[in-house]
């Protein structure tokens, strides 16, 4: 099956899948492939890493990027100039209050469909699309139901596995969502050390520590693969992420689908569930994001906010002051460049923030 990688949560995986292609929402690593691509100064390290990995990853047949930020818009052009896999730049409108904006999003999905057909995909029938969407919706419901039981790092990794198209854990997620016991080695932990002997004792200590931890919200841009270390660093410093509002977290999952309307017009449902529902920083005005934050922060009882942003990301950078004003919570503006390989500087800053909160 041909593989299409993408980055933005506004690209519906089920649209790609319905064309018979394998969608992979790529969380790039911090590895070397990116180093040769694009200028360093002024370029978002996430965009740079994504472009580098998409261009060098084996088995990638196409790439979909979006206009949701200037850096990614321009990265699409850079990637296309590099002679790698075919690139589709999807125009996701920044405005959302007019019918024209939703219409543009829908038109862009259809244009993307033609691109996917060009890659070897097949246009889906209405029923075929509806079935694919339903299947994704069911899997996503299981994911949503399980997230609360997974712990912050586990939840982030579960979303990443879902985005990567891995279905192997679906059954476990469903069990977990129904209140079954988690399978920590598979779902909640990825590091070997935590699977070793004495894990049960360590878990007890950890549970005690977490019960005393300072609840925090993590909001901001996308995480790279290695960035899940952030959750560990926060826990080591005495905090606990009770709300993951990063672009890589549950905030950017599409809304659940209306099954009845899905059968009538599945494409329209895609538009509503994605364009009509995902709150994000690039939207103008960005009302929905701040409503979401207000609601979720209140529900989470977070005592502080860590704003995770890639350097040169103006959209998140400009939100720091506003977050402080509107939430009244302390905000740690954590700018990351991808060059802090040991996570030392980042860890130190988190530590200092936690000391201030305690």
């Amino acid at each position: 099956m041909r593989t299409v990688v993408y980055s933005s949560p506004f690209v519906p995986a089920e649209w790609l899948a319905a064309h018979g292609l394998r969608p992979v929402r790529l969380r790039p690593g911090a590895g070397a492939p990116a180093e040769s691509l694009g200028p360093i100064m002024g370029m978002c390290p996430y965009a740079r890493a994504f472009v580098g990995e998409a261009a060098s990853m084996p088995g990638v047949d196409g790439v979909v990027l979006t206009t949701t930020c200037d850096q990614m818009r321009r990265a699409a052009e850079w990637l296309a100039l590099g002679g790698g896999p075919p690139v589709f730049l999807m125009n996701v409108p920044a405005t959302w209050q007019t019918p024209a904006a939703a219409r543009l999003y829908r038109d862009e999905l259809q244009r993307m469909g033609r691109f996917l057909v060009g890659l070897g995909g097949a246009p889906p029938s209405r029923d075929g699309l509806a079935e694919t969407v339903e299947a994704y919706d069911a899997r996503r419901a299981a994911l949503r139901g399980a997230l609360g039981a997974l712990g912050p790092r586990g939840a982030s990794e579960a979303v990443a596995r879902f985005d990567a198209g891995e279905e192997a854990h679906d059954a476990a997620l469903r069990d977990l969502g129904r209140g079954g016991s988690p399978d920590p080695p598979r779902l909640n932990r990825t590091r070997g050390a935590q699977d070793a002997g004495g894990a049960a004792g360590q878990e007890t200590c950890r549970a005690r520590a977490l019960s005393r931890a300072v609840p925090l919200a993590l909001v901001g841009g996308p995480l790279r693969r290695d960035d899940v270390r952030l959750f560990d660093a926060i826990e080591r410093a005495g905090g606990l992420v009770v709300l993951d509002g990063t672009e890589s977290g549950a905030r950017t999952l599409p809304a659940p689908f209306d099954r009845r309307r899905l059968r009538d017009d599945p494409l329209l449902e895609l538009v509503d569930a994605y364009f009509g529902a995902i709150p994000d920083i690039f939207r103008r005005p960005d009302t929905a994001l701040h409503q979401w934050l207000g609601r979720e922060l209140a529900a989470s009882s977070a005592r502080g906010i860590i704003l995770w942003r890639n350097v040169w990301c103006d959209l998140w950078a400009a939100s720091v002051g506003r977050l402080r004003e509107t939430t009244g919570l302390p905000v740690l503006d954590l700018d990351v460049s991808g060059e802090d390989a040991g996570f030392g500087r980042t860890g130190d800053r988190i530590q200092a923030f936690m000391e201030m909160l305690r």
């Binding site: 200028p39 206009t67 990265a75 052009e77 920044a94 103008r284 005005p285 103006d314 950078a317």
Partner: protein, 460 residues
């Protein structure tokens, strides 16, 4: 004036101005010695070099009195529209209404330079969370908050979508502070797909008809808002008349650019040409006067060319300049290094091209808006640079990076690559902060090296 044209310090220019005033030379009411602006804080003026013509003095006076004009318009009961980011489209519509004045709050990005940071706009911006990582346009937020510069507009519009993130972020921050904004969508311009209905835009880019239709519908929302603000209809007839007037400005600028960028010796310094081009985007808040200012400047250039005179030595290295400089003084540096301006792309070439008059006005405006070099691929912009550099006979290209601007990192690389491949010209990338003094030796050395390269290449 019988002596050869030359560049003057501000003190010399002011002496000349006073002599003209004493001699009863005709001058508009706003024209006068620039010293008065220094007294108001525009200290950078003391460090600039100016063309010695009456036309240039008028240009500078016109530029530096814009805030006074806006306040006078407010006092006279005229409606003020702050048009953000689109650089050239909405003002054409706004000035089609008799009681509306439009300006770009974006223009505040030059205030920290002109006032040598004494105005504190960056400090205010910093306090709002808009620090050094943002493009100097963050000064605009400071100007809204401290209300010490332009009057707060009655209506604020901002194009978003395919725009710089800096601008979108700063504008959103403004809205969060209680300045309502009418956002309108500018799609990312793309090449038409095979078989897709398409049009050629002013300036030569191609775009799908569907994108033009979307922009047209967005501009219709602006039209309705302007009409409501003005309390008067903004029909096709008014718009068509507005387009004709805008084209007068563009026509004058077109002639001025063609002559100033091709004649040797160079008849007009780089700094005055930068200022003149800026008039195209919103007429410096007075459309009729901008026509008069440009007409006088054009006449001066024609006179000099007829007499074979220039303000710079003959044979200066011919540089094409990409992006406006945050520090105006760098335009002087270009001249000082043995170079001269030979074509520009200051982010708004769509505001220089004639707006089609043979189309329904909204269609024409939509096509013009979509021709914005910033909303399409950098390759489009590079192609325009290549075409214009070739047409003006440029010998090298300078890509002037704007500190913190989200578009500059990749765009400069693409433009540089395409220029080298297409026309084989040397390309230099510079970063120009709002106060470039600490970087002066570096900038000077790099420009001098580029000039030497150009001169050396002439020997081949």
């Amino acid at each position: 004036m019988s002596a050869a044209p030359k560049r003057l310090t501000m003190a010399e220019l002011d002496r000349l101005c006073r002599r003209r005033q004493a001699a009863g030379a005709p001058m508009p009411a706003y024209a006068g010695p620039l010293e008065r602006h220094v007294e108001e804080g525009d200290r950078r003026l003391l460090k600039l070099q100016y063309d010695d013509s009456a036309a240039a003095l008028r240009l500078w006076s016109f530029l530096l009195t814009e805030e006074e004009r806006l306040h006078a318009a407010r006092a006279a009961g005229r409606k003020i529209v702050g048009t953000m980011k689109d650089l050239g489209t909405v003002p054409v519509m706004a000035y089609a209404l008799p009681n509306v004045v439009a300006f770009y709050p974006d223009g505040a990005w030059w205030t920290p330079c002109v006032m040598e940071l004494s105005e504190g706009l960056f400090g205010v911006a910093q306090s709002l969370g808009l620090g050094d990582a943002f493009c100097p346009v963050r000064a605009m937020a400071g100007a809204f908050v401290n209300r010490a510069h332009f009057p707060i507009p009655d209506l604020l519009t901002c194009s978003v979508g395919a725009t710089c993130d800096d601008f979108s972020a700063v504008a959103q921050r403004l809205e969060s502070l209680g300045f309502p904004i009418l956002w309108w969508e500018m799609p990312s311009r793309r090449l038409p797909d095979p078989g897709e209905p398409a049009v050629t835009l002013p300036g030569g880019f191609r775009a799908p008809e569907s994108q033009v239709a979307l922009v047209r519908s967005e501009l219709d929302r602006i039209r309705a808002a302007l009409a409501e603000l003005a309390g008067a209809p903004l029909g096709d007839d008014e718009l068509a008349a507005g387009i004709r007037e805008a084209n007068r400005v563009r026509g004058l600028l077109g002639d001025l650019r063609r002559l100033a960028y091709t004649a040797d010796p160079c008849p007009m310094p780089a700094l005055e040409m930068l200022i003149a081009e800026m008039l195209a985007i919103h007429f410096c808040s007075d459309r009729a006067e901008s026509v008069a200012v440009l007409a006088e400047l054009l006449a001066e250039v024609r006179r000099r060319i007829d007499k074979g005179r220039g303000v710079l030595p003959e044979g200066a290295a011919r540089l094409f300049w990409v992006n406006p400089v945050a520090d105006l003084r760098v335009m002087n540096l270009l001249d000082d290094c043995g170079a001269r301006l030979c074509g520009t792309e200051f982010l708004f070439c769509h505001a220089l091209d004639a707006i089609p008059e043979d189309l329904p006005p909204m269609e024409a405006l939509a096509r013009m808006a979509l021709a914005d070099p910033m909303v399409g691929p950098a390759a489009d912009r590079a192609a325009r640079v290549v075409r214009d550099a070739r047409a003006f006979g440029a010998e090298a290209v300078v890509v002037s990076r704007i500190p913190g601007a989200s578009h500059c990192a990749l765009e400069g690389a693409v433009i540089g690559r395409m220029v080298r491949e297409a026309i084989g010209l040397p390309v230099v990338e510079l970063e120009v902060p709002p106060m470039a003094d600490p970087m002066w030796p570096t900038l000077k050395t790099r420009l001098e090296a580029l000039v030497e390269t150009v001169i050396e290449r002439r020997k081949r």
